[in-house]
Every structure is written in C-alpha cells, then in structure tokens.
C-alpha cells in the first residue's frame, strides 16, 4: 500500500486534470448561457456538482468515505 506522500505524488496530476475538466465544464456552461441568453430550464445537475464540490472541500472526513457519499449524492439526479 502507498504511503501518504506516495499517494499524493502518484495521483496529484490526475486529480488536477479532473478538476480542470470540471472547471472547463462550468466555464462552458457559463459561455453557453451568455451566448444563448438564458440558463438551462433545470439546473439541478449544475447544483448537484456544486454541492459535491462543497462536500469535497470539507477538510475532515473521519470515515474516509467521500466516494461513497458522492455516489449517494449523485444518485438523487436522474
């Protein structure tokens, strides 16, 4: 199993890439809203992503079960 340092060193760049993709998606949505002049009728998916990021931003997760919590969170979206 990996040490704490190895864990960060091994997966940091992939996590960076994935967060950049999320940032780009949010930018893409804003650009689309600006271009079309209106928001999506239902923004629940956008709101779900924002809530997920808030969950990830919390520093303390004593059970180390973020993935499990996110799956339950995303299960609310059709």
């Amino acid at each position: 199993m990996l040490s704490p340092k190895q864990t960060l060193d091994t997966y940091f760049l992939e996590a960076r890439r994935d967060l950049l993709e999320v940032a780009a998606l949010l930018d893409r949505y804003d650009e689309s809203v600006s271009r079309e002049g209106h928001k999506a009728e239902d923004e629940s998916k956008l709101e779900s992503l924002r809530e997920a990021m808030q969950l990830l931003a919390k520093p303390d997760h004593s059970k180390a079960d973020r993935a499990k919590q996110l799956l339950a969170h995303f299960a609310k979206i059709d």
Partner: protein, 273 residues
C-alpha cells in the same frame, strides 16, 4: 477527413501508430527534436539524432502513406550544457537544408534559467539568419505562466517576424498573451499533464481559430497521438461543420508550415455536390 499531426515524436513511437494514424486520415506528421529522457553528453549524439529524423524516419512514415517532416534544435532541458549547445548549433545549418526540415525547434524554456534563455536567443537568431520557421516549447505545469512570459520577453527584444514563430503548449492562462503578441499558438493534448481535447475545443470556440494549431501528444511518456482525433470528434459533436474542422486540423498547419517552401501540402476545401 485529412488530418495533420503538427507535433509528433515518431522515434519514440511504433509503426502501429503510423498504421492507425494512416487509417484515421493523418496525411503528414512533423517531428521536432526533443529531449530523449536523459541528458545527452556528446554533440555527435545530436547529429545522429538529426540524421535519424531527417533521413530515416521519412522512410518509415512513407510505408504507411504519411509524409514526415522534422525540426532541429537542442531542447531546453539540455541547454544547461552550454558547450554542447554551441557545438550542435554550429552544425545545425547542414540539417536545415534537408528536404524535410521545416525549421528550428523545439527550442524554448524549461526552468527559464539564464543558460536556457541564452540558448533560446541563439536558436532564434540562427533561424532568422537562415529565414527559418521557429517552434518554441513553453514549460509544463507550475512553470508555464512564468516561462511563457519570459519567452515573449526574449522575443520582444529580438528582430523576429511573429508570422514565422509558433509558441507551443498554450493553455487557458497563456493563450491570450501569445495570440495578442501576434505569434502562432499551439495546444498540445495530453492524457494528464497539458490541455485536454475538450478544453482545446472550448479554447477554439472562445478565440478565433486563426493562428491556432492543435497537436496530439506522442512521445516516450504517457501520451496518446489519438487525442487529436478525440479533439476532432469533440469539435464535430458540438455541431461544427467538417470544413470548419478541416480549417483547424489540416489547413492551419498548412498555412503556418507552408511558409517554408518544402511544405507542399496545400489547404483543402470540402465541396458538396
């Protein structure tokens, strides 16, 4: 659709790449000189490398119907070896005369040290003296913004023609600086460390597609030459027409590289009957 791979390190790839690229519409690849994964110690090693990419590699590509072009340079990671850099620079004009050599590259910056900057200036001076195109590498990750600014500062102090300079590996934070200064900008699509196909399409949609080039990643590290095709699929999936894709992924490389008369592939237009 006909596609050009403007930045492809063929010596690190297998013939299967060529075969699959050919099957997917790639008609030409351009191979800049790059870092071998270790610092070379002898100028002769570079000379043999330049011979490989200017003489042998075109024959390997031709077996699959793909045109192969190259660039020559000492890459920035090895520019710390000043003696080696100067010796290789002396011998580079011989290779600039090769029938498939398009110019000087990839030069540029890695950590933006004084030796790297001196080597960049020497490469650009050589290119301008021989009326060559220049391909400039910008640093990765946390060094990118600083390194790109430094490249632009170096160039601003030199007598260069921006039309003939391609600054590569731009991302969201650096593209406006490069285009704003009048240079060509290249986006490089890596699985992890640089731009992604989706983000590249965002950039294509946000900025004018003029002076923009899109490269896949193809070297000895984690990379994938078919990120270029992924990008084309993403671009088309968003509703852009085939001709618009042709302008970016075939014609733009022709416009930039065609400034060198050795590049004889012309922009194409898809006609509908």
């Amino acid at each position: 659709m006909q596609i050009i791979q403007p930045h492809y390190h063929a010596i690190a790839r297998t013939a299967q790449d060529y075969e699959r690229m050919s099957m997917s519409g790639v008609v030409a690849v351009c191979e800049p000189a790059f870092w071998a994964g270790f610092d070379r110690r002898h100028p002769e090693t570079f000379i043999d490398y330049f011979a490989q990419i200017s003489e042998f590699e075109p024959t390997r590509a031709a077996e699959f119907g793909i045109r192969h072009f190259c660039w020559v340079a000492v890459n920035p990671k090895e520019a710390e070896n000043v003696e080696l850099t100067n010796e290789v620079l002396k011998q580079m004009p011989e290779f600039l005369d090769k029938p498939n050599c398009l110019g000087v590259g990839e030069t540029g910056l890695h950590k933006s040290t004084a030796n790297e900057i001196a080597a960049l200036e020497a490469h650009v001076e050589l290119a301008m003296k021989h009326d060559q195109l220049v391909l400039i590498h910008t640093p990765h990750l946390s060094d990118k913004a600083h390194g790109t600014k430094t490249v632009l500062e170096v160039l601003s102090g030199m007598n260069v023609n921006p039309d003939k300079i391609w600054i590569d590996h731009v991302e969201e934070e650096t593209i406006e600086w490069v285009l704003g200064a009048g240079y060509w900008a290249g986006m490089t699509l890596y699985p992890v460390t640089k731009c992604s196909p989706r983000r590249a399409v965002d950039i294509l949609e946000k900025y004018s597609t003029e002076r923009l080039l899109v490269n896949s990643s193809a070297d000895w590290g984690p990379s994938d030459p078919f990120t270029l095709q992924e990008c084309i699929v993403e671009y088309r999936r968003r509703g852009h027409q085939v001709q618009e894709a042709v302008e970016i992924f075939h014609n733009n490389p022709c416009r930039f590289l065609g400034q060198n008369p050795k590049w004889d592939i012309k922009p194409i237009r898809i006609t509908e009957e």
